[in-house]
Symmetry: C2
Subunit: 327 residues, 2 copies
């Protein structure tokens, strides 16, 4: 049975995933994208994944044609059944790893990059992100859904075909809780959403501004952990990604593709993660929190200083990164 | 000028290191150990590093012979001069990256593994760890020194020759602060050092115990983030690594080598970080904190779930890892 365990010395939750255990010698530290003989995400190979949870089609498409497909993860870290109440285990705390772990296949074609998605695929993908968050929010026993994407082996991707993931859990993830707590403190100190202040500052001075559209901005954050770290935020205050309407999501799809393209064009085999930070399910609207997407490039390797101290070393100032990406 | 910058949304400090910046296309995501044409750490190549800060020799060794050598990092993330006072920078906080960044060359011979060190080298290395922490503690303007080691490219090592690093900073690192806060809360709740409780529990039940010596234990922690994560702790309560006497440090050197050997013998090209967590400089003795060494294997790649949510996924239960390492 998969389980969460809490580290008492850091309050960090770790997911122990049943069925993913391998013998030590089977760990391979490989580089280069793995090319599977038969890609389970390609059109025509639908039988290689569990049955789809949801399929997105264009108007007038035949039943066997699709743009975006949501399927259960073949090796889920979380399971849908069980009671999600933390309980004592000797000195420690544990909790059944109840929740959801889904894969969103972004296109029927075997392409690796978000920038190779068609307009319709990219827009359907963003709709799928919204829909999955809304569906898990309605389940009642879950508190949060993280939408994320891993691109390239250095970013933890095991398959090349463009895909995203959704993990829904019965607790608010530690990184979100940290951000929510800080945002609330900043709101109290400044009487205003601090994300809104940062956006206004960048729209005025453009020190770390990379791009803007009608509804969105892309900036390199002041204390970027990684070279070329990029955040995409809505210009208008909103704590919920999933409250965006289809028009805004279509604009976001185009804006995200444009900015990911800037990063990809400057790096060979650009590996990155991105994730959506949105408010928890049980908070309909927060004045102090502002949803955003964090693009986290994997150009440097974290080492003892990052893991042991929590200090990141970044050789590229975000002002320089933003200037390069603007040019 | 190198600088710390604080991310307002996470209170994380990032070090922006002058002189380490590269153009984007120069980032390489390579695997396999880099083999330098001429290793700057080998005996006879001392001219390739800045002059030594300290050199450890055996009794009776000639001046040009050494066991362990402490040198300044060629590309330091921190600089010794300047005022280490946080100050405002627009909406944000910054601080000069004042401190120390040193490399400890662990042997004059070109060997990659801690397990290949001689008894004398391993023991000198542990003495060097202690001495560097003591030296930086006496400087007055610094609060903490993290001793760490990166082994293998997957763990962020850029040179193969066995070496460790020391980073001393004018603030307590975020990961330490987090651990100190939790340890204090646990002490108040249980009336006892929680690390001591964990050690007693493992010595009684051996659920996650890997090995023990007269003075030390090695355990796989209950909520291990990584497969085969290993912590080494002193059996007797102590908040300060640097208060260990040379006899204890010699025992620790042997014990650490034994346990790292268990990990290496089970994995090809075993990449890992280890770091010493000890009390801050200005805390002579803490009842609630217990120094230890965390060995952090790099067998899996962190991805969107780790960075976006703060959840680690670990496919190996620490009970299984400990049983495998005991056998």
């Amino acid at each position: 049975m998969s389980q969460f365990r809490k580290d008492p010395f850091s309050d960090r939750w770790v997911i122990f995933a049943e069925g993913r255990e391998r013998r030590p010698n089977e760990y391979e530290q490989t580089a280069g994208r793995r090319r599977d003989a038969r890609c389970p995400f390609c059109v025509g190979h639908e039988v290689d994944t569990p049955p789809a949870i949801h399929t997105y089609r264009s108007n007038g498409q035949r039943d066997d044609e699709w743009l975006v497909r949501v399927v259960p993860n073949m090796y889920p870290a979380l399971v849908p059944r069980g009671t999600a109440e933390p309980s004592a285990n000797g000195l420690y705390q544990t909790c059944a790893a109840v929740g959801a772990h889904e894969v969103i296949v972004e296109t029927p074609r075997h392409v690796a990059s978000f920038t190779e998605l068609t307009d319709a695929e990219a827009r359907c993908l963003l709709l799928a992100y919204r829909d999955r968050i809304l569906v898990h929010g309605r389940a009642g026993h879950l508190k949060y859904a993280l939408v994320f994407k891993n691109v390239g082996p250095a970013a933890g991707a095991s398959l090349e075909h463009a895909h995203s993931q959704v993990v829904a859990t019965p607790m608010i993830p530690p990184e979100l809780q940290r951000e929510l707590t800080a945002a609330e403190r900043l709101y109290k100190a400044h009487g205003q959403c601090f994300f809104c202040r940062v956006i206004a500052d960048e729209l005025t001075h453009a020190t770390r501004l990379v791009a803007q559209s009608d509804r969105f901005v892309a900036i390199c954050p002041y204390a970027s952990r990684m070279p070329y770290e990029l955040w995409v935020l809505p210009r208008e205050h909103s704590s919920k990604f999933e409250s965006q309407d289809p028009t805004a999501l279509a604009e976001l799809a185009d804006f995200l593709r444009l900015n990911l393209g800037k990063l990809e064009s400057r790096h060979r085999q650009f590996a990155y993660n991105y994730f959506i930070h949105t408010g928890p399910f049980d908070t309909p609207h927060l004045n102090h929190y502002h949803w955003h997407i964090e693009v986290f490039p994997r150009l440097t390797t974290t080492a003892g200083l990052e893991w042991g101290a929590g200090y990141f070393i970044n050789p590229v100032l975000p002002e320089h990164a933003a200037a390069i990406m603007r040019s």
